[in-house]
C-alpha cells in the first residue's frame, strides 16, 4: 500500500498536479466561453441579445413545450411565439424531418404524421445502407425503437446539448495527458539511476511491479473523475442543470438516433466510454514502457500511434473503421457516430450495436495488454533483468 502511494506521488507530484488542474480549468473555461458565445445574438452594432437573456427567455418559454402539430401550427402563425432559441431548435428539427421543406408549406397531414415521417426516413436509410446490409430482423428491431418515440419534449436542455457537443475533444485530451503521466512508472529516466537500488530492496520486485500497475490505474481514475467533474460543473453552470430527463432527440444532431435515452443517460454513456478509452490508453502505455524501458522511446511510439489514428480518421473507409478504428481512442471519443451511425457487429448470431461492442473490444484489448504486462514483468524478473 505504502509503495503504491509513493508511486502515485512519483507520477503526480505537486507541480504536475497543479499544472494538470490549471490545464483542466483553463480548457473548461475556454470551452464554456465558446459554448456561450454561440448563444449571443449579434447585429451590426455588436451583441444584440446576450446569452444570459437568450437562455433565460428560452427556459421560460419552453415550459411544457412539445413538438407536435399544435406547436407547429402555433409557429406557423407566430414564428417568435416560443422565443428565438426555442424556435430555432424546433425549426432545425422540422427542417431535418421534412427534408428542408419550409414550415409554411407543410400540410395538416404532414404535421400530424411528424413521427411517422421520422420513422420512414430512418427506415429508408436502413434499407438503402449497402455497407452494413441490415437483415429484416435487425430493421424490425430498429423500427420498433424508432416508432416508440411518439412525443418529443422540447423543454430547455441547452446545457446538456453544449456538454455533449465538445466533451469528446476534452476527454481525448485528458486521456492523452494522463497517459503521458503514466510513462515514467516503467519508463526509465537515464539521468536518475535509482532503478538498480529500488529493485534490490525487499519489496522491489513483484510487489513493486504490482503497486506500480495499480497506482497507474488508480491515479488515472482519480484524475479522470476530477477533471470530468470540473469540466461538467464549469460547462453546465452558466446554462443551469435543467433538462437532464429530456430525450436526446430534441437535439438536431441526435434527432434520428435510435437510442431513446435522456441527456443525463447520454452523458453517463459518454463519461463511461471516455473511461474505457482511458483504461485502454493506460494499459497500452504500460505495456509499451515495460517493453521499451525508456520514457522517450515509449512516448514516441504512443505519439506516432495516436497520429496514425488521426491520419486514419481523415479518410472514411468502412472496413478500417469497422474492424479497427471504432475500438481505438480517436473514434471512441468521437461520440456522435455511436448514437446515429447504427453500425452493427454480428457475433455468434447476435447483432450487437457498435456502442456496446466497441466497449467490449476496447476493454478486452486493455485486459490483453495488462496480462501481457504482468507476463513480461514476470519473465524479466525470472531472467534477472530487473
Amino acid at each position: 500500500m505504502k509503495i503504491m502511494i509513493l508511486e502515485c506521488k512519483r507520477m503526480v507530484n505537486r507541480i504536475i498536479l497543479l499544472g494538470f488542474l490549471a490545464f483542466v480549468l483553463i480548457f473548461s473555461v475556454y470551452d464554456s466561453q465558446r459554448n456561450l458565445d454561440r448563444y449571443n445574438e449579434r447585429d451590426e452594432q455588436g451583441i444584440a441579445v446576450t446569452w444570459r437573456d437568450n437562455l433565460s427567455e428560452a427556459r421560460n418559454a419552453s415550459k411544457g413545450l412539445y413538438l407536435d402539430k399544435e406547436c407547429m401550427e402555433n409557429l406557423q402563425e407566430d414564428a417568435d411565439l416560443y422565443g428565438y432559441l426555442n424556435s430555432e431548435n424546433i425549426m432545425e428539427l422540422i427542417s431535418s424531418n421534412y427534408e428542408r421543406k419550409p414550415l409554411e408549406e407543410l400540410s395538416d397531414n404532414e404535421m400530424e404524421r411528424f413521427f411517422q415521417i421520422r420513422a420512414e426516413i430512418i427506415h429508408e436509410n436502413l434499407v438503402l445502407d449497402t455497407k452494413v446490409g441490415y437483415t429484416d430482423e435487425e430493421i424490425e428491431d430498429f423500427m420498433d425503437r424508432a416508432e416508440s418515440l411518439s412525443t418529443l419534449s422540447m423543454e430547455y436542455a441547452e446545457g446538456w446539448k453544449a456538454l455533449a457537443e465538445k466533451m469528446g475533444n476534452f476527454v481525448f485530451l485528458i486521456v492523452i495527458i494522463i497517459a503521458v503521466l503514466v510513462l515514467p512508472l516503467f519508463g526509465r529516466d537515464p539521468a536518475v539511476q535509482m532503478e538498480e537500488l529500488v529493485r534490490s530492496s525487499r519489496y522491489g520486485k513483484r510487489q513493486l511491479d504490482t503497486a506500480r500497475i495499480v497506482a497507474a490505474y488508480l491515479t488515472a481514475t482519480v484524475l479522470y473523475v476530477c477533471s470530468m467533474a470540473v469540466y461538467f460543473i464549469i460547462v453546465m453552470l452558466p446554462f443551469g442543470f435543467d433538462g437532464a430527463s429530456r430525450p436526446i432527440q430534441s437535439n438536431v444532431r441526435t434527432f434520428f438516433s435510435l437510442y431513446n435515452i435522456t441527456y443525463l443517460q447520454q452523458f453517463v454513456w459518454n463519461f463511461f466510454r471516455g473511461y474505457v478509452v482511458l483504461i485502454f490508453m493506460v494499459s497500452l502505455t504500460l505495456i509499451v514502457t515495460i517493453l521499451l524501458k525508456n520514457i522517450l522511446a515509449g512516448a514516441s511510439v504512443i505519439a506516432i500511434f495516436l497520429v496514425m489514428l488521426v491520419i486514419f480518421n481523415q479518410v472514411y473507409l468502412y472496413p478500417v473503421n469497422h474492424w479497427f478504428a471504432n475500438f481505438m481512442p480517436v473514434r471512441m471519443t468521437n461520440f456522435w457516430h455511436f448514437y446515429v451511425g447504427n453500425e452493427l457487429y454480428r457475433i455468434c448470431g447476435f447483432s450487437i450495436s457498435c456502442m456496446r461492442w466497441s466497449i467490449v473490444i476496447s476493454l478486452t484489448l486493455s485486459v490483453i495488454f495488462l496480462v501481457s504486462s504482468f507476463t513480461v514483468l514476470y519473465a524479466n524478473r525470472k531472467k534477472g533483468l530487473i
Binding site: N294, L296, I304, V307, M308, L317
Partner: protein
C-alpha cells in the same frame, strides 16, 4: 571536425531514434497498404474489374494504349476508342463507379479534357468523363479553351482569396499563354498516390524529430559524458557546432527514410511510371512547362526544407532547456501547433513548415513588382531565414553551455 560530426551523428541514432523511426515506417507502410488495398478497383484491358493492390498494375497495363501526346489525332482516336469501350458502358451502368474509388484508363485524358469544360468545378465522378464537346473538333480550339479555363479558374480562385491584383492576374495569364501544347498523356496513378500519401503522412517526420533531436544538447546524460566532453580540447564551440551539423544531417536522414519508404512502397504498388508526362495531367492548372516528376521533386525539396526548420527548432529547445524530457514536451507541443496549421489557408500556407511539402510550392505565387515568384523560391528564402535565426538562437547559448 568531420569525425566529431560523424560521432555526434552516431550518438543521435540511439534507442529512441530507432524505435521512433521504425514506428514511423510501420505507420507509413500500413497506411499505404491498407488504404490503397481497400479503396480502389479498376477496369483492366480485358474489361474485368480488378480489386485491391493489383488494380494499379492492371490499370497501368490497360493505359498503355492511351499513352502519347494529346494532339488533334490523339483526341479523335480517344473519342472513337472511348465511345466503343467497355469502360463507358460499365460506367453508364454503375453511376457511382469513379466517385467511390473506381478507376479506368480513360481517367487521365478524359478528366483533363473535362477540366477544360468544368474548370474550378471539376471533380472526380462518372459525370465528368464524357467527351461530347464541340471544342474537341480541333487541337487548337481545345487548347485555346483549356487556356481560357485556366485563366477563369485563376480569377475564380482569386475572388475568394484576393491574393492577386488585376495586373498580377494578367502576368499569370501570360504564363498560361506561354504553356507549350500539346501535352503528353499516360498512366501516373502510382505517382498520384505517392503525392497524396506523402502529404498525408508528412507530419510523422516532425513527430520523430521532436522526440529524437530533443536529446541533442541535453545535459542529463549518464556517466558524466557531458562533463568529460566539455573539459576536452574541442569539446566546446567545435563540438557544439558539430552537434548542430549532426542534428541537421539527422533531420535530413529521417526525412530521406520517410521519402524512401513512400517511394519504395508506392513504386511496388502503383509503380513510379508517368514521371515524364506533362504536369498539367495531374495539376490541371499548373502554369509551368514541366513534368509530373519535376513537380514532385519540388514538393520533395520543400518537404526537406520543412524538416530542417523543425529540426532546428527542436535543437533550439534542446540547448535552451538542456533537459531531454522538457525539450521533447515543448517540441511536441510546438509540432502539434505546426500540425494544426495544415487546414489553415492564407499567409500561413506560406510561412508554416507544414505546407512546405504541398503543391502550393509551384501553384501559388508571390509578386515582387510584376514578377511572379513561385512559393518554392519564397519557401527556400524563408527556410534560410528560419534556420539562420534558430541557429543564432542556438549559438547564443554556446557560452552558457558549461559544467554545472
Amino acid at each position: 571536425m568531420k569525425k566529431q560530426i560523424w560521432m555526434e551523428y552516431r550518438k543521435l541514432w540511439n534507442k529512441i531514434a530507432g524505435v521512433a523511426v521504425i514506428a514511423m515506417c510501420v505507420v507509413a507502410v500500413l497506411h499505404l497498404f491498407v488504404y490503397l488495398n481497400l479503396q480502389y478497383r479498376s477496369i483492366d484491358s480485358r474489361g474485368e474489374i480488378v480489386e485491391g493492390l493489383a488494380s494499379y498494375r492492371a490499370l497501368r497495363e490497360a493505359s498503355k494504349e492511351l499513352e502519347g501526346v494529346m494532339d488533334g489525332e490523339y483526341i479523335q482516336n480517344l473519342i472513337t476508342s472511348y465511345n466503343s469501350s467497355f469502360d463507358k458502358a460499365y460506367m453508364a451502368e454503375h453511376k457511382g463507379f469513379l466517385g467511390t474509388g473506381g478507376m479506368t484508363k480513360y481517367m487521365v485524358p478524359n478528366y483533363f479534357i473535362n477540366y477544360a469544360y468544368f474548370g474550378p468545378y471539376m471533380s472526380n465522378g462518372n459525370n465528368k468523363v464524357g467527351l461530347d464537346y464541340d471544342f474537341l473538333k480541333s487541337e487548337e480550339r481545345f487548347y485555346a479553351t483549356y487556356k481560357e479555363t485556366v485563366k477563369e479558374h485563376l480569377e475564380d480562385d482569386n475572388m475568394y482569396t484576393n491574393m492577386y491584383s488585376d495586373e498580377q492576374l494578367l502576368v499569370l495569364n501570360r504564363k498560361v499563354d506561354n504553356l507549350k501544347t500539346p501535352f503528353s498523356v499516360g498512366y501516373y496513378q502510382g505517382l498520384a498516390n505517392l503525392r497524396s500519401w506523402y502529404i498525408m503522412d508528412y507530419s510523422l517526420v516532425f513527430i520523430v524529430l521532436a522526440f529524437t533531436v530533443a536529446g541533442l544538447f541535453s545535459k542529463d546524460n549518464t556517466g558524466g559524458i557531458t562533463e568529460l566532453t566539455l573539459s576536452s580540447r574541442y569539446g566546446r564551440k567545435m563540438n557544439l557546432d558539430a552537434r548542430w551539423i549532426a542534428g541537421n544531417l539527422f533531420a535530413v536522414s529521417v526525412y530521406l527514410i520517410y521519402l524512401g519508404i513512400q517511394l519504395i512502397v508506392n513504386g511496388l504498388i502503383g509503380t513510379l511510371a508517368g514521371w515524364n508526362i506533362s504536369a498539367q495531367m495531374l495539376w490541371f492548372h499548373s502554369l509551368y512547362n514541366m513534368t509530373i516528376g519535376d513537380g514532385l521533386l519540388i514538393m520533395f525539396v520543400g518537404g526537406l526544407l520543412g524538416a530542417l526548420v523543425v529540426g532546428n527548432l527542436v535543437m533550439l529547445f534542446s540547448i535552451k532547456l538542456k533537459n531531454v524530457k522538457l525539450a521533447a514536451v515543448l517540441a511536441i507541443i510546438a509540432v502539434l501547433i505546426i500540425m494544426r496549421t495544415k487546414n489553415m489557408y492564407g499567409v500561413i500556407e506560406l510561412v508554416s513548415p507544414m505546407h512546405f511539402e504541398s503543391d502550393n510550392m509551384f501553384q501559388k505565387f508571390m509578386f515582387i513588382g510584376n514578377v511572379a515568384v513561385p512559393y518554392f523560391v519564397v519557401v527556400f528564402v524563408l527556410t534560410v531565414l528560419y534556420v539562420a535565426i534558430l541557429y543564432i538562437g542556438t549559438r547564443l547559448s554556446y557560452k552558457k553551455y558549461h559544467i554545472n
